[in-house]
């Protein structure tokens, strides 16, 4: 039940990225897609009734191994979050410059190229 909902979130973002006409709305849609993928990775690593993958004095050695959730997807998601922050900053910079040139955020009015 949880996985399909996560995919649905991804597809909502994809739908937005395909249909929106406003630069900021497109950026928001792409960000939603990235959130959905991050959530999916963390869902994959979850262990029912598990604990966070941080060893402290109460859980040491053998008692920790069978209860910890998977630390690997968490590390991947941390990386992915920072990458999406970087991409977001660059996209905002491009759209600011576009606004400066064209005076609008509407892509139907930003159309000098034909491709």
């Amino acid at each position: 039940m949880v996985y399909p909902l996560c995919v649905l979130l991804f597809l909502v973002g994809l739908y937005g990225a395909m249909t929106q006409k406003n630069l900021i709305k497109i950026i928001i849609s792409v960000t939603i897609m990235e959130y959905a993928v991050n959530l999916l990775l963390i869902l994959i690593g979850y262990r029912a009734g598990g604990i966070a993958p941080i060893i402290d004095r109460t859980y040491e050695g053998a008692t920790f191994t069978p209860v910890s959730v998977d630390p690997f997807p968490q590390a991947m998601v941390l990386t992915a979050i920072v990458i999406s922050l970087g991409v977001l900053a660059l996209l905002i910079a491009i759209s600011l410059r576009l606004y400066h040139r064209y005076g609008t955020y509407d892509i139907t009015e930003i159309r000098r190229l034909r491709g």
């Binding site: 897609m33 993928v37 991409v87």
Partner: protein
């Protein structure tokens, strides 16, 4: 000491240092950037012919990240290094028109580092990370001039690129959930034993589709090509040369082929996927050339031809036969040389005349002999005129199609080749031959370093036909093609590599077979 990590550390470190350089004295940045790319050429040539596995952080392949140098990645690294050296040499004078040169070179070298990282990595998630480095740097470089068209093209490119990266990351996540690992060799070992029809098989096929969509978008295969004809012409000329010459190959074609042949090994697991690759390739080939024929913008025309030529590469590799793969990879290398040369000559004419419209040019050959000469060489190569490299690679691809019994595909390849020839005859006629127009009487040849970089690439275009001679073929092309045609050997090569004292892990030479 093993030289492999330096292929990434050198451009990365220089990319970090260059933005610190003073803006007032651009020559320091020129010098450092050229030094870095020259060093990359030396490093990559010195690694030629080796097969090695490097364990980053000293962890074994399963646990940590490995860098894998085999025939294919060595081949790609040399192409990237050679083209980026020519491009930095060209930039030294071409970029006089722009400000913020230290940032330009910084982004350039970070893009090269991203490509080298993506080529050398043996880990799916690491592939995603380095893909993003190269892609993010290229988004910024496309918009570097900050003009209307450049920003528009860059935004379109960046959004499509981000969506594509999301697909790639989704694919990596699904593979991890199913097989518990993201190491390419380890994954390949696990996918090889999956029986068709099982849930794991279904997930891996879905993942391959995600990768075709995501990486195909980066490689500009036809249904996903919309960004390329805008983005590539808009960038400064050396960047266009890098994007068309190597970026779409390193993070598009190479990554896709690596995943499909070495990780999933579609040739055995799902031959239908290879057929899909061939269809996409042929579609790109045909659509690209039809869109190119009517173009009058020099760089835009070249960009459409990039789509078409990538189609050839995909068709050759998609055949899956050893000859087809050889032809595809050879065409990939050739295309890197002649397409970047064509973009540089287009940049050189624009540098002097200030226009990219072909109908406004004319007779420039009299005033710019070096540019015209190298452009002629590159045009003949891309059009497949006999003594030049493009002829041989296209011939091999067509022969491979015939050999595999795919006559329809072979026919399309011949037709597209003829149309390419027609299109480039038009370019030569309007731009460099004919009567010199009144307004271009005072045009002069471009500065010396720009000539040097164009002549270097022209010599490369001429000399690359020699790669088909038995000796060079055995050293350069065969090992690369073997990596793909013997796709399932990849995992055993990486996983059984023996550790020695200095972490240099050399296994059996894959080129020997």
């Amino acid at each position: 000491m093993n030289l492999m990590p330096w292929l990434i550390a050198v451009p990365l470190g220089m990319g970090f240092i260059l933005p610190l350089m003073p803006k007032r004295s651009p020559r320091i940045s020129d010098l450092l950037a050229n030094l870095a790319t020259l060093l990359l050429v030396i490093l990559s040539v010195s690694l030629l012919g080796k097969t090695a596995v490097y364990r980053v952080g000293g962890w074994e392949a399963r646990v940590g990240i490995v860098l894998v140098l085999d025939g294919l990645s060595g081949f790609m690294v040399i192409i990237v290094a050679a083209i980026s050296f020519a491009a930095t040499l060209f930039s030294a004078r071409y970029m006089d028109r722009y400000t913020a040169r230290p940032k330009y070179y910084g982004l350039f070298l970070l893009m090269v580092a991203g490509m080298n990282g993506a080529i050398l990595t043996g880990d799916m998630f690491n592939l995603y990370v380095f893909l993003e480095i190269a892609a993010v740097a290229s988004y910024a470089l496309v918009a570097f001039g900050c003009e209307h068209e450049e920003l528009e093209a860059s935004f379109k490119y960046a959004i499509l690129g981000s969506v594509a990266s999301c697909f790639v990351l989704l694919g990596v996540a699904l593979l991890y959930a199913t097989f518990g690992t993201v190491n390419m060799a380890h994954l390949s070992e696990k996918i090889a034993v999956v029986a068709p029809g099982t849930p794991a098989y279904r997930v891996s096929m879905f993942t391959v589709m995600l990768f075709i969509a995501g990486l195909g978008m980066k490689a500009a295969l036809v249904p996903f090509h919309a960004w390329l004809p805008d983005a590539h012409p808009s960038a400064p000329a050396p960047i266009s040369a890098m994007l068309s010459g190597v970026l779409i190959k390193a993070i598009g074609v190479y990554a896709l082929v690596r995943v499909m042949f070495n990780v999933v090994n579609v040739a055995e697991v799902a031959p239908g996927m290879l057929y899909a690759l061939m269809v996409l390739g042929t579609l790109s080939m045909v659509v690209g050339v039809f869109l190119a024929v009517g173009q009058w913008d020099f760089k835009r025309l070249l960009a459409y031809h990039s789509i078409s030529q990538i189609g050839y590469v995909m068709l050759g590799i998609g055949l899956g036969t050893p000859l087809g793969i050889l032809g595809g990879l050879f065409h990939l290398a050739n295309h890197a040389a002649f397409k970047s040369l064509l973009f540089l000559t287009a940049g050189a004419t624009e540098y002097r005349t200030g226009t990219r419209r072909l109908e406004k040019m004319g007779g420039l050959g009299q005033k710019m002999p070096v540019t015209a000469g190298s452009s002629l060489v590159a045009s003949m190569s891309i059009a497949g005129v006999p003594p030049f490299n493009g002829f041989f690679s296209k011939l091999i691809i067509i022969l491979a199609c015939v050999e595999a019994g795919r006559y329809g595909f072979a026919a399309w390849a011949v037709i597209v080749s003829i149309m390419t020839l027609a299109s480039f005859m038009k370019v030569q006629k309007y731009a460099f031959f004919g009567r010199l127009k009144e307004q271009w009487v005072r045009v002069r040849e471009v500065p010396f370093v720009m000539q040097v970089s164009m002549v270097l690439l022209a010599i490369l275009c001429l000399g690359m036909s020699a790669l088909l001679l038995p000796g060079p073929k055995k050293a350069f092309l065969d090992p690369a093609a073997n990596v793909l045609s013997e796709g399932k050997d990849y995992s055993s090569t990486v996983l059984t590599a023996q550790t020695t004292g200095d972490q240099i892990v050399v296994s059996r030479d894959m080129g020997e077979k």
